[in-house]
């Protein structure tokens, strides 16, 4: 709940500082007004009925784009003094806000708005954080500074969960290039590499299995993390491959452990640790070939899904956007589903299929689990003596299918 704190200063006077903004008042206007009244009454009696100053108000201050702090109940003498300080550019040193326990004030703009002293933080206040505001009363009334603390209330933070681990299949090729972790909420940056590890069947850690990129590889939503295995370890012939060999051995079973200490962007830990085991099979050095895919066309007038079987698992993240369906140059709107360990893809249109010719357009960057894309194999260097860019056709691939009127 919203927290008001108030103290007596050395002169026995009460000055109140209130938090303003719409984050609370929109939600609990009656409650806030009630609290405000109680505090005001307490203040009145605490000062022996001599209301020196300040009427606590909990009304919404409009015209402000983010919550801040303000001082109300200033006397004419206070305002005159503040006007002086303002003209000297010293208001920021009179009224300051701090993260609780810190000595450096937050960046903020302080303005004298009629009879109020308003502090607008440069950055939005964080829900759940504790702040202190200090009014340098010595500048005003020769008294010691007043300090008040506030904790900003907010909605309950949801506990994040691991929503998926990809490849989801029990078997992965030895030259696996990437894994994806999907979470139910945006996650905190800077924690990934401390929170994941691979164990062999005896529970021993696989050293240096994956790359640690300081920037971390997230999608734009912050919910999908990419584990990139060291391509230098995977590519045959490169120094690291010779030195370290591949991180996973064929025929062995490994377990990816995701620690529950990994926190969401709201700094809430995962609900539980996640373990995902897989068995390693022979390396995959063959490019995906759309001409070998199996297509099952739907029937006219139906909402049946268009169905493709790749005959092998493909990259889970890219499957969300790498395949599109066109009808006479118009993209057909619909929903895609990926299933059976990322070996199958289906597409359900928003509108029923009509009898026509359709084109399935496939991004040639689409990769299998080992980084072989439709356009080029992962291990270029071991396959071609002289690299010739024209060998790699990066244009989208097109597959045709027809829906007949029968």
């Amino acid at each position: 709940m919203f927290e008001y704190e108030y103290e007596q200063d050395d002169c026995g006077r009460y000055t109140f500082i209130r938090v303003i903004g719409d984050f609370i008042f929109h939600r609990f206007p009656i409650l806030d007004a009630a609290i405000a009244m109680v505090v005001a009454v307490l203040a009145f009696f605490a000062t022996g009925g001599v209301a020196q100053t300040i009427e606590v108000q909990a009304d919404l201050v409009t015209g402000q784009d983010r919550p801040g702090f303000e001082i109300v109940g200033l006397t004419d003498a206070d305002i005159e003094r503040l006007n002086e300080l303002e003209s000297n550019g010293q208001l920021e040193s009179v009224f300051q806000a701090f993260v609780a326990g810190q000595s450096i004030p937050m960046m903020a703009r302080v303005i004298l708005a009629d009879d109020r002293l308003v502090l607008e933080p440069r950055f939005p206040l964080v829900v759940g954080a504790r702040y202190e505001v200090r009014l340098g009363l010595d500048s005003l009334r020769g008294a010691t500074p007043l300090t008040r603390a506030f904790t900003l209330p907010g909605a309950e933070v949801v506990t994040p969960e691991v929503a998926g681990v990809f490849p989801s299949s029990d078997c992965v090729p030895q030259n696996l290039l990437k894994m994806y972790l999907r979470f139910s909420a945006p996650m905190n940056r800077g924690e990934a590499y401390h929170s994941i590890r691979f164990l062999d069947k005896d529970g021993r850690r696989v050293e240096e299995a994956f790359l640690e990129i300081p920037q971390e590889l997230w999608d734009a939503s912050g919910c999908q993390f990419t584990i990139l295995f060291d391509p230098g370890r995977i590519k045959r012939g490169l120094a690291r491959h010779e030195q370290l060999d591949l991180p996973f051995q064929v025929g062995q079973t490994y377990t990816l452990v995701v620690d529950d200490r990994w926190r969401s962007a709201a700094l809430k830990k995962l609900d539980k640790s996640e373990r995902h085991s897989f068995t390693v099979v022979e390396p995959d050095r063959t490019q995906p070939d759309p001409d070998k895919w199996t297509i099952r066309a739907p029937t006219a007038g139906s909402h049946e899904p268009l169905f493709i079987d790749f005959g092998e698992p493909l990259d889970r993240a890219m499957l969300d956007h790498a395949i599109e369906v066109f009808q006479v140059d118009q993209r057909v709107p619909g929903e895609t589903t990926v299933s059976r360990g990322e070996t199958q893809w289906s597409f359900t249109p928003h509108r029923p299929w009509t009898a026509d010719e359709f084109v399935i357009e496939i991004d040639s960057r689409l990769e299998d689990l080992a980084g072989n894309s439709i356009a080029r194999p992962f291990e270029i260097e071991s396959l071609v003596p002289e690299v010739d860019r024209s060998r790699f056709d990066v244009r989208p691939r097109r597959l045709l299918f027809t829906i007949s009127s029968e």
Binding site: P214, M318, P333
Partner: protein, 369 residues
């Protein structure tokens, strides 16, 4: 006397030309709000222009800091517990601050930091200027002369718009202005693709830059798409090169003209600096008339790398075994082992951010080793 006068006249003309050039590129910057979504790698260009890599909007921003007042570099510059101070100023706890990069304005000696305030996709992009007294000032992104260049082959925004999803991102690992080209190194969170791109500066709406195809030879084999972690430009015997530190093949040399022409680039591996390690950041400096590379690493500490004979034709062709090293000789600077950020600070110093095991970050200036 005449000669001196002529020299003076020539230098004045040269200054006027330089000023005119400076004005020209600055005049191409438009005043307004720089819509920076993520403040990533930093690099200073001419006349206080700061380049900022933004992986979220897949763009490079050129910001006119207006910081063109030449100043003495202060070797006493030091800010302890930097992260705590930044966090307090920005109104959050230290765990909600990520320092993404550090760059020093070579004119004024002012260090700049790019950072994220908050965590997750809603983190706010912030650029701070640091002062020797420990005070922090924000470089306001409002009403600032700037230009934006979209990276070639950016994320598929079209897909994002149609489907309400935005999955693909290009993470930027380093940027630098090299011979009027902003060179950008990065990698995608999805496909494994070419990771070095060059964009001509001043930015022009119709020139989006080129994705560079990188090859390097060893045993007749080619490495193409491994992520470049950090790179720098270097001139040896009047020949300019780009030296890039890879994740899996540490130090590779490219001819500068191939990089700036945006062509297929042939790299030569000039050093293997050991495994179990990722290079973090590097720059070139001169000592006793010889160029050296100073490179920070994740595990192998700070390396002072000799560039002696770095221009040789033959690269490393033998595999290095048992985690050993080969190629350019180097020495490890023990006291800078924990450096996570660094930049050049005047002709004789480096500025570093050291991170200890407790996570505390201290910024300080050290003599170049």
């Amino acid at each position: 006397m005449k000669a001196a006068r002529l020299l003076y006249c020539l230098s004045v003309i040269a200054m006027l030309v330089t000023t005119a050039e400076a004005q020209e590129h600055l005049q191409k910057l438009q005043r307004g709000t720089a819509e920076l979504k993520f403040a990533g790698p930093l690099a200073f260009g001419p006349d206080g222009v700061l380049f900022v890599g933004d992986p979220v909007s897949a763009s490079v921003f050129a910001l006119d800091t207006g910081d063109r007042q030449s100043s003495e570099f202060n070797p006493e510059f030091r800010i302890d517990q930097l992260e705590q101070k930044i966090a307090a100023s920005l109104g959050v706890s230290a765990e909600s601050i990520v320092i993404n990069d550090l760059a020093v304005n070579p004119i004024s000696g002012t260090p700049y930091l790019s950072l994220s305030r908050g965590s997750g996709p809603d983190a706010e992009a912030v650029i701070l200027k640091l002062a020797a007294d420990g005070s922090l000032t924000e470089l306001s992104l409002k009403d600032i002369p700037h230009a934006v260049a979209a990276l070639p082959n950016p994320p598929d925004q079209g897909d994002t718009d149609r489907r309400g999803r935005s999955q693909r991102m290009v993470s930027i690992t380093d940027i630098a202005l090299i011979d009027n080209q902003v060179v950008v190194a990065g990698l995608s969170n999805e496909e494994f693709s070419s990771s070095l791109r060059a964009i001509p500066y001043p930015f022009s709406a119709d020139v989006a830059g080129t994705a560079l195809e990188v090859y390097h030879g060893a045993h007749g084999k080619y490495e193409t798409s491994a992520p470049v972690r950090t790179f720098t430009a270097i001139t040896v015997d009047n020949e300019p090169y780009v030296v890039a530190a890879y994740t899996c093949t540490p130090l590779v040399r490219f001819p500068l003209d191939e990089v700036t022409r945006g062509e297929k680039i042939r790299g030569t591996t000039v050093a293997e600096l050991g495994n179990w390690n990722s290079p973090l950041d590097m720059f070139v400096y001169e000592q006793d008339g010889k160029p050296f590379i100073l490179m920070a690493n994740s595990a192998r500490g700070m390396m002072k790398i000799s560039t002696e004979n770095i221009q040789r034709d033959e690269g490393i062709t033998e595999h290095v075994t048992d985690g050993g090293t080969a190629g350019q000789p180097y020495e490890t600077i023990e006291e800078l082992k924990s450096a996570v950020q660094l930049d050049k600070f005047g002709p004789d110093h480096a500025i570093v951010i050291l991170k200890d095991e407790s996570g505390r970050h201290d910024l300080k200036v050290v003599p170049l080793p």
